[in-house]
């Protein structure tokens, strides 16, 4: 069986399985809510922040999995207690130069301060705007001084992410990523899927952000 056929069969199988993913992360950090706010609302800097490049070492080779290549923000409103911004995000899977295959989406991000003690940030994908690879993405971040399980001097951060990948579009990415691998493609194919591209990536991104705090 030709390898391209094998890849096709594998991709076909993947395409028949849509995947919804939930990510839940909780941490206590030493920084105050204002500092956390400063990191989480650097919308225009997301592509340059620690964690923007996610890779793994395989057989002595550094294999890039996902890279945040564009983050542009447009503030919609801003006050002392709340803000709203549109955030345009583009990710580069592995080393693809074919940008039509890049996961991309526009987020509507809102922040509401709950006194001085914390804030809530919600980001929702604007489904009526250009998007690829994801059908939906919702991020909810709760930041509070008074968090159960954290010391009084610490700030608790709770992150909940729900995303729904478009399996047929992810299969297109996968085919393009695996094509240069030739005969190795069937072997390394399990590394490239919705979970690696999105669940693991967002886990990594937020993990790296919180290391700064």
């Amino acid at each position: 069986m030709k390898f391209s056929m094998m890849i096709g069969l594998i991709s076909g199988f993947a395409a028949s399985n849509a995947m919804a993913t939930h990510i839940s992360e909780k941490q206590c950090v030493g920084s105050d809510p204002k500092a956390v706010h400063g990191v989480f609302t650097k919308y225009d800097q997301y592509s340059k922040m620690p964690g923007s490049e996610y890779s793994m070492s395989l057989a002595g080779v550094d294999v890039p999995l996902m890279r945040w290549v564009k983050s542009q923000a447009k503030m919609v409103s801003e006050s002392a207690s709340a803000s709203e911004a549109y955030v345009w995000t583009v990710l580069q899977p592995v080393n693809l130069t074919e940008s039509r295959l890049y996961p991309r989406f526009l987020l509507d991000c809102k922040v509401e301060w709950q006194g001085q003690g914390g804030f809530r940030q919600t980001c929702s994908m604007m489904k009526d705007k250009q998007h690829f690879a994801l059908d939906d993405l919702r991020i909810a971040v709760e930041v509070s001084r008074a968090t159960r399980g954290c010391k009084s001097s610490e700030t608790g951060i709770s992150i909940e992410i729900d995303l729904s990948a478009n399996s047929s579009e992810v299969a297109q990415i996968k085919n393009a990523v695996l094509a240069p691998a030739g005969m190795l493609a069937p072997l390394i194919e399990p590394l490239f899927n919705e979970e690696a591209f999105f669940k693991n990536y967002f886990n990594f991104v937020y993990g790296e952000w919180m290391k700064q705090l």
Binding site: L58, A59, P64, V69, K70, A73, A181, L184, N200
Partner: protein, 114 residues
């Protein structure tokens, strides 16, 4: 020149992989988790299990690749060639996405780099 591919090596490798096909994948980076409560630690334990499963899968693939390498194929070179970092292609800016002629209030784009 046509290259003979070590089919047996691939079969062995695929067999190794089939044992972990359902394993959860996760990144290998955990943030600092000190000073968390018992309930938070319980959650972390669950997360750790996911990470462990991912690590096992990567290990299995690495083992399989080594098996193929031992049969004479230059796996490392193939991998390096296939996954060499490349600069991103051009994409729309937020103004075009929003359908506006105005430039975004804030705008950055990572410079191409290799």
């Amino acid at each position: 020149m046509k290259r003979n591919f070590p089919v047996a090596g691939v079969l062995v490798a695929m067999a190794v992989l089939s044992g972990c096909g359902q394993a959860d994948r996760a990144n290998t980076h955990l943030g600092s988790m000190d000073d968390t409560s018992k309930s938070m630690l319980e959650e972390l334990k669950k997360t750790q299990k996911t990470f462990d499963a991912a690590a096992k899968q990567v290990e299995a693939i690495a083992t399989a690749l080594t098996a193929i390498k031992d049969m004479g194929l230059d796996v490392m070179n193939l991998m390096k060639t296939a996954f060499a970092k490349k600069p991103p292609g051009g994409t729309d800016d937020i103004g075009a996405v929003l359908g506006e002629s105005l430039q975004p209030a804030i705008q950055t784009e990572e410079a191409n780099e290799i």
